[in-house]
C-alpha cells in the first residue's frame, strides 16, 4: 500500500514544529510498511496532480508568510475544494487552519479562502499554553496552543471540546473544526506524535479512501503513552488519567 502526501508550502508555513506532523505521518506509515511519497507544493506551483494526493497538510506561518500563502492558494482553491468534498484527508494547523475560512490580518484586512464558513477576528487576546481537548472518539488530544485572535465556527463541527486551555476563542470551549476528513486545529508542533491515535485515524481514513476496508497494524506506542502521561502530569497531576 502507498499514500501520497502533499505538504503545502513547507518552506513558508512551518513555525512551531509543525513539520513534525509530517514526520509522524511518514514514520507511522513506514513502520507498517506503507510506502509514502511526499509532494512539496510551493508558491506558484500548479495543482493538477492534487487528484493523486491522499493527504494534504499545511502548518502555521508568520503573518507575512500567511498573507503570501493565502494569496497564492486562491489559484488552487477549486482543487482543494474538490479534494475536501471527496473526503480526502486534510490537516491544517493554526495559520493554515485560519486560511481555510475567513480571517482578519494584523492590518484589519479580510483574507482567507472561504472554503468554510468560519471566521477569525483580530483581537488582542493571546491564547498560549498547554491544551487538552476531548474528542467524540473518546480520545483526548494533548498539545500546545499559541494564537492571537478569536475563531468562531458559525455552526461548523469543532474538532473537540476544551478540557484545559483556550481553544478557538476562549469562550465557547470549542477547539478546531472538522468537516468530512478535514481537520483544522490550533494544536501545534508534535500534534500527531503526541496523539498517535489521531495520526493513525488520519492514515486509516486515507487508506480507506484509496483501498476500501483496511486494518492498521498495531505499533508499540508505549513511549508515546508515557510522554502523554508526563505532559498531563506537568499540566496538573489530576489530568494524568486522561492519557
Amino acid at each position: 500500500m502507498k499514500l501520497n502526501i502533499c505538504h503545502l508550502y513547507p518552506d513558508l508555513m512551518n513555525m512551531y514544529g509543525d513539520s513534525g506532523n509530517m514526520l509522524a505521518l511518514i514514520r507511522r506509515c513506514q513502520w507498517r510498511n506503507i510506502s509514502v511519497e511526499i509532494k512539496e507544493h510551493r508558491l506558484n506551483d500548479k495543482a493538477e496532480d492534487f487528484k493523486n494526493q491522499d493527504i494534504f497538510f499545511i502548518g502555521h506561518g508568520a503573518s507575512r508568510q500567511q498573507s503570501i500563502v493565502a494569496q497564492d492558494m486562491k489559484s488552487i482553491k477549486p482543487y482543494l475544494k474538490e479534494a475536501i468534498e471527496e473526503g480526502k484527508v486534510f490537516l491544517a494547523i493554526c495559520g493554515g487552519y485560519r486560511i481555510l475560512g475567513r480571517y482578519q490580518d494584523a492590518n484589519g484586512a479580510t483574507l482567507g479562502l472561504e472554503l468554510f464558513n468560519f471566521y477569525t477576528e483580530q483581537t488582542t487576546d493571546h491564547f498560549a499554553g498547554n491544551i487538552i481537548v476531548e474528542t467524540d472518539e473518546n480520545y483526548n488530544l494533548i498539545g500546545f496552543e499559541n494564537h492571537i485572535g478569536k475563531t468562531y465556527l458559525n455552526g461548523l463541527k469543532p474538532l473537540g471540546r476544551v478540557i484545559f486551555g483556550f481553544g478557538n476563542n476562549g469562550e465557547d470551549k470549542t477547539e478546531g473544526m472538522r468537516y468530512k476528513n478535514t481537520i483544522g486545529t490550533y494544536l501545534h508542533g508534535p500534534l500527531l506524535s503526541n496523539n498517535p491515535r489521531l495520526c493513525d485515524k488520519i492514515i486509516e481514513a486515507a487508506l480507506r479512501n484509496k483501498y476500501g476496508t483496511v486494518e492498521l497494524g498495531k505499533l508499540d506506542d508505549s513511549l508515546e503513552i508515557e510522554t502523554r502521561r508526563k505532559i498531563l502530569e506537568l499540566i496538573d497531576p489530576k489530568f494524568t488519567s486522561l492519557a
Binding site: 503570501i68 499559541n146 501545534h188
Partner: protein, 450 residues
C-alpha cells in the same frame, strides 16, 4: 553625590548577598537603580573612550567576552558584564563592580545587551558602537514574531543616530534594519569556510524584508545566515569591511580577517570547531580593529579569552565530557554538527526544561534537526534524556529513527552523570537548554577530576 551613594549602597548590597551565600549578580544594580534612576547615564559619562554594546540572539556573551579580553590585553580599563546578566540592572551591576567609590574613570565599557532591552539601554547609555551578532527566533520570546522584534530594535535605535553599527553582513534581517537607519555602519561576515558542512535540512524560505519575495542564496551557512540576494528588488549582502576566511591547516584552523581590498589584517591559528565561534571571533576582531587596537594585541587577547561556563566546557570524569548550552533549534543543530565531527564512540545526553526562562513551549524540538545524530548513530552508544521534557525529547529521537532501546530516560541528575560516566564510550557530549545546563553543570563541577 546621589550617584556616589548609589554605588556605595550597591557595593554594600553585593557584599551582604555574598555573606548570605547568594550569588547576587544583579542585587547591586537593583539597589543602585532605586537610589539613582539615572545611574546608567551617569556611569556612561565616566567612560573616556568607547561604550560598546553587543546584542543579538546567539553568541552575545562569547563575543562580548572576547572583546573584553582584547581591550584588557591593550592595557585599558573596561567595565564588562561578563557573567551574562544582560538586562538594565546587569549593566549597572557591571559598572558598580569595576568602580571604586571614590574614583570612577574607565577607558571602555563593553556590555552584552539583551535584544529586547536594547532600546532602553541605548537611550540611557548612548553607546558608541553596537555589535550585532544575529537575530533568530528564540525560545524565550516565541510569542514575538521576528518582524515585531526587528521593528522594536529599529525603533529603539532611532534615538541614537550617531552610534556606529557593526553588523553581521551575512544576516539579511540585521542588514535590512541597518538599511533603514541613518547610522554609520560597518560590516563583518564569513567569506570562506574550510569545510562545506551540509546545510540545514530544514531550511525555511527567507523572505526579503524589503519586498517580501524569497531570497536566493549562493551559499547558506545556517539559519538565514549566508550570501544572499533578492532578484526582485536588488537587496543584497553588503561587501564586508572585515571578511573572515577560515582555512584548515594541519588539524587546526587558520582564521584570517581581510579588509575590503582582500588584504589580510589578522591571521591567527585557532580551534574553531563550529561556525558559531567563527562568527563570534569575526565580530570581536572587527570591533577591536574598529576601536583602534593593534592586530598583534587583538591576537593575544583572543588567545587569552576563556569560554564561559557551559559553552563546550570540558570536564573529565573517567572520560572527557563536553557540556554545551543550546537555547534554540539553531543552537542545537550547530552543537550536534560539532558532535558529528568527532569520530570517537560517544555518549550523548540531552537536557530539556520548559521553565519560563527556557520557553514553556517545547514544539521547537520538532524544528530541530535531530536527524544529524541519526546519521552518526553507529558511533553513539546511548542517548541519555533528562530535564522536565525528557520524554518529549525521547519521542523526538524515536521519530528521527533512533532505536528506542538506545534511549535512557533519567529523572535524577546524579543518575544522568552516572550513566554518562558508566556507558561505554570514549567521550560524552551533553547538550542542554538554559536551566538544565546550570543544574547538570553543578554536578559535573563537583565530580570533575581535570
Amino acid at each position: 553625590m546621589k550617584e556616589t551613594f548609589a554605588v556605595l549602597a550597591g557595593k554594600a548590597a553585593v557584599n551582604l548577598a555574598k555573606i548570605a551565600g547568594r550569588q547576587g549578580t544583579s542585587i547591586g544594580g537593583r539597589v543602585a537603580l532605586k537610589i539613582s534612576p539615572d545611574i546608567l547615564t551617569w556611569f556612561s559619562s565616566k567612560v573616556k573612550n568607547d561604550i560598546i554594546f553587543v546584542t543579538g540572539t546567539n553568541g552575545k556573551t562569547s563575543t562580548n567576552n572576547m572583546i573584553y579580553s582584547i581591550i584588557q590585553e591593550a592595557g585599558y580599563t573596561c567595565a564588562c558584564n561578563n557573567i551574562g546578566a544582560n538586562m538594565e540592572v546587569g549593566l549597572i551591576s557591571a559598572f558598580i563592580d569595576s568602580s571604586s567609590v571614590f574614583k570612577l574613570s574607565l577607558d571602555f565599557a563593553c556590555m552584552e545587551v539583551d535584544e529586547a532591552s536594547l532600546p532602553k539601554a541605548a537611550a540611557s547609555t548612548k553607546p558608541d558602537i553596537i555589535v550585532f551578532t544575529n537575530i533568530f527566533p528564540d525560545q524565550s520570546d516565541r510569542y514575538v514574531e521576528i518582524d515585531a522584534l526587528l521593528n522594536k530594535i529599529r525603533d529603539g535605535l532611532e534615538a541614537s543616530p550617531d552610534t556606529t553599527l557593526l553588523i553581521n553582513a551575512d544576516d539579511p534581517f540585521l542588514v535590512s534594519i541597518g538599511n533603514l537607519l541613518p547610522n554609520p555602519k560597518r560590516y563583518y561576515g564569513i567569506e570562506k569556510w574550510f569545510d562545506n558542512i551540509s546545510e540545514d535540512t530544514m531550511a525555511d524560505a527567507v523572505l526579503c524584508k524589503k519586498c517580501g519575495s524569497i531570497l536566493s542564496y549562493d551559499c547558506r551557512y545556517y539559519g538565514q545566515l549566508g550570501r544572499y540576494s533578492c532578484s526582485k528588488c536588488g537587496f543584497h549582502r553588503p561587501v564586508p569591511d572585515f571578511s573572515a576566511v577560515i582555512e584548515n591547516e594541519e588539524g587546526a584552523q587558520l582564521f584570517n580577517i581581510l579588509d575590503k581590498d582582500k588584504k589580510s589584517i589578522i591571521a591567527v591559528k585557532a580551534d574553531i570547531s563550529d561556525r558559531y565561534t567563527a562568527y563570534n571571533m569575526a565580530a570581536a576582531v572587527s570591533c577591536g580593529l574598529l576601536i583602534g587596537i593593534r592586530p598583534e594585541i587583538i591576537i593575544k587577547g583572543l588567545q587569552k579569552y576563556k569560554p564561559q561556563a557551559g559553552r563546550m566546557e570540558e570536564f573529565y570524569i573517567q572520560k572527557p565530557i563536553l557540556l554545551n548550552l543550546a537555547k534554540n533549534p539553531v543552537g542545537f543543530n550547530e552543537s550536534m554538527k560539532t558532535v558529528s565531527k568527532d569520530g570517537r564512540t560517544k555518549t550523548v545526553a540531552i537536557g530539556v526544561n520548559d521553565l519560563p526562562q527556557d520557553g514553556r513551549d517545547v514544539s521547537w524540538l520538532w524544528d530541530t534537526d535531530f536527524e544529524i545524530l541519526k546519521k552518526i548513530d553507529d558511533t553513539i552508544t546511548s542517548y541519555i534524556l533528562f530535564g522536565r521534557r525528557r520524554y518529549d525529547t525521547a519521542l523526538r529521537l524515536k521519530y528521527a529513527g533512533i532505536d528506542t532501546k538506545k534511549l535512557v530516560i533519567s529523572e535524577i541528575l546524579d543518575d544522568v552523570v552516572n550513566n554518562v560516566v558508566e556507558t561505554k564510550s570514549e567521550i560524552a557530549y551533553i547538550i542542554s537548554n538554559y536551566s538544565t545546563t546550570f543544574d547538570i553543570r553543578k554536578i559535573l563541577k563537583e565530580r570533575d577530576s581535570k
